[in-house]
């Protein structure tokens, strides 16, 4: 099965959230774009991507809800792809993009670049979400890095989260910038697929510098920042983790959100392989921290362990 067929199935099973005639329109637009005999012009291609919003209607712009099985099927089809946070409109637009018969050739790449140039916010999201599904993704690395420079949080998310593209294609500079920017704009970094595979001494240093900056400013450190250390934090990393854990004395342990950072710091100990310290925490008097230490000792402190923490509003 192709991504396109899967998307079509997901869209068709949600016809009730689409305006009357919208599904038929999508079908005919996909046929028009898919024609090998008469390739649509770049401006027509862009217009069809825009029109999808008008033809599908307001409900299609709201978050969709996929079943666990639908999410799993997507991940099996394309490793690292998770469409749970897409909308019906994004899916329809990606479907249209993938309908092009010339995606392998220069004309296809040019048409996509042209669509990026004239895109509104919603179209940008769909275009970035489509990148991991295009052949020879390397061609779009500059564009994806450009997406990281956006000011729109929704666009940044579409570019970086729930997609294998950054991990597969970004160089270290682009990748590290994407990870640190996720902390800055407050989107869940654990959703950067296979972050754990791209950890490095440089990313750990950048994260620790940011931690120092936030402490100096009297601000709380982002829970997800502790994801960036891995085994590369060194002595400086352990010191930062211990400073975070020491906050335990200053906060109300019943305040779940305030505890996130401290729990995440314990998980970071697990990622760094600080076995003795983890055992000490397990034997300690704080059950919430002991539970995180157990996860570390079991070798399960991977990035998905962070999915239990919500990302609090940045201050």
């Amino acid at each position: 099965m192709s991504t396109q067929v899967l998307l079509r199935t997901y869209i068709e099973s949600r016809a009730s959230q689409i305006l009357d005639g919208g599904l038929e329109w999508l079908e005919s637009a996909a046929t028009e774009i898919g024609s090998r005999e008469t390739l649509v012009s770049d401006s027509r291609f862009g217009a069809l991507l825009s029109l999808a919003s008008r033809k599908l209607g307001h409900e299609a712009r709201q978050p969709w809800s996929l079943s666990a099985m639908e999410i799993e099927s997507a991940g099996i089809l394309r490793d690292g792809w998770n469409p749970a946070n897409w909308t019906l409109l994004v899916a329809a637009r990606v479907h249209l993009i993938l309908s092009r018969p010339d995606l392998e050739s220069q004309s296809g790449a040019d048409a996509i670049e042209s669509a990026f140039r004239f895109a509104d916010e919603g179209e940008l999201c769909a275009l970035y979400r489509s990148l991991a599904h295009l052949p020879n993704g390397k061609r779009f690395v500059w564009r994806a890095a450009e997406g990281c420079r956006t000011n729109m949080v929704s666009v940044f998310e579409a570019d970086v989260l729930d997609t294998p593209f950054p991990t597969e294609h970004f160089d270290d500079v682009a990748f590290n910038q994407a990870a640190i920017k996720a902390l800055f704009v407050g989107v869940p970094l654990w959703r950067l697929w296979s972050l754990d595979r791209r950890l490095s001494p440089e990313l750990a240093r950048m994260a620790l510098d940011l931690a120092d900056e936030r402490r100096s400013a009297g601000r709380v450190i982002q829970t997800d920042l502790w994801l960036c250390l891995g085994t590369f934090g060194g002595e400086r990393g352990f010191a930062a983790i211990e400073t975070e854990i020491a906050r335990l004395d200053t906060i109300d342990a019943a305040d779940e959100e305030a505890m996130f950072g401290i729990r995440a710091a314990v998980l970071a100990l697990g990622r760094a392989g600080a076995t003795e310290r983890l055992r000490e925490i397990c034997a300690g008097s704080h059950p919430a921290l002991a539970a995180e230490a157990e996860i570390g000792l079991a070798g399960d402190a991977n990035q998905n362990a962070w999915s239990r923490f919500t990302v609090p509003a940045l201050t």
Binding site: L51, R54, H58, F118, D120, N151, M152, V153, V185, T315
Partner: protein
């Protein structure tokens, strides 16, 4: 004191109890150039009850020199400005068009008209506008016609800017030309009307918008007189606030004055909220139900490094129920 004000004073006496009457709490400013305004304006507008705005594409106070400037301007209307507004709980729509002044640079105008379709059908674009006449030149007419044809072809609403000089004649001509092209008069909004022009607009079945400016165009007192005498049918109040001396709170201030003058709150609601929703809603781009529902501000959404908060604590409101 002008007699109008004396009239206002006498009507004032009819008010039973000012405090017991409540001003409608929601306003729609269907013509305001937010990219020229500050975040202070957004804050004050939100506090005054402005829930939604339309930002028509216009000129920037000086002519642009290349088509790229237009591309970036249109992009900001459907991108960053929309985002900026959302941080204050204000829904931002826009219109796309080549304005009449810059239509006179014919070479550039041709290039702009070529790229216009790439923006005009975007999500949240509620009309083609503001277009029309400035000096009523052949070049202006050419650009106006081309854009009217596009609007008819795509069944769109049109927002027409009426000229400052030779206004009455300009308005008549803009309606005649639009009718000739086949535009549904119910989808035509003529803006910047005054006492001398609006009747002709209403007689043609169009919508008559009024720009409330502190010193030129209409002022609030004249606006209230007009609504009092003629009712609120197809009348739209807007601010057209921009980079010039103008008032981003014109709509709520005029509404307040109407209330003080004893005008039926239902008339205020029509002229300052629902009429504009009705005509621009014909675009299908305004989710009217959602707009009428709860509508919290969430400033934790931000544009990364350009966050508008710059270190402040973000404001996250509990949903406020529509009244």
């Amino acid at each position: 004191m002008p007699t109008k004000m004396l009239g206002a004073a006498s009507r004032f006496l009819r008010l039973p109890d000012l405090k017991s009457m409540s001003l409608p709490k929601r306003f729609f400013d269907p013509h305001i150039h937010m990219s020229s305004r500050t975040t202070n304006c957004y804050e004050e507008m939100a506090a005054a009850g402005i829930r939604a705005v339309i930002e028509p594409a216009f000129w920037l106070g000086q002519p642009r020199t290349n088509v790229g400037s237009f591309i970036d301007y249109f992009s900001s209307l459907i991108g960053f400005e929309r985002f900026r507004a959302s941080q204050f709980g204000i829904q931002h729509y826009c219109t796309i068009g080549l304005n009449s002044k810059e239509a006179n640079d014919e070479g550039l105008a041709r290039e702009v008209l070529e790229i216009l379709p790439r923006f005009a059908l975007k999500e949240g674009v509620v009309a083609i506008g503001e277009i029309g006449y400035d000096e009523i030149t052949p070049a202006e007419e050419k650009a106006y016609l081309a854009q009217l044809e596009f609007a008819v072809e795509h069944d769109m609403v049109v927002m027409v800017h009426s000229p400052h000089r030779d206004k009455h004649n300009g308005i008549l001509r803009s309606m005649d030309v639009a009718a000739e092209v086949g535009l549904d008069m119910d989808k035509l909004v003529i803006d910047h009307n005054n006492e001398e022009t609006y009747k002709a607009v209403l007689d043609r079945g169009c919508w008559a918008a009024f720009t409330i400016y502190p010193h030129t165009k209409m002022d609030s007192v004249r606006m209230v007189d007009l609504i009092e005498a003629n009712g609120p049918e197809r009348i739209i109040v807007d601010s057209s606030a921009d980079w010039g001396i103008s008032d981003h709170l014109s709509v709520p201030k005029t509404a307040q004055l109407m209330l003080e003058r004893g005008i039926d709150p239902a008339w205020i609601e029509k002229s300052c909220w629902s009429n504009a929703l009705e005509v621009y809603g014909k675009s299908g781009q305004i989710d009217v139900d959602r707009l009428n529902r709860d509508h919290p501000v969430d400033q934790t959404q931000m544009f990364g490094d350009s966050t508008i908060l710059r270190g402040q604590v973000p404001r996250v409101d509990a949903p406020v129920s529509a009244s």
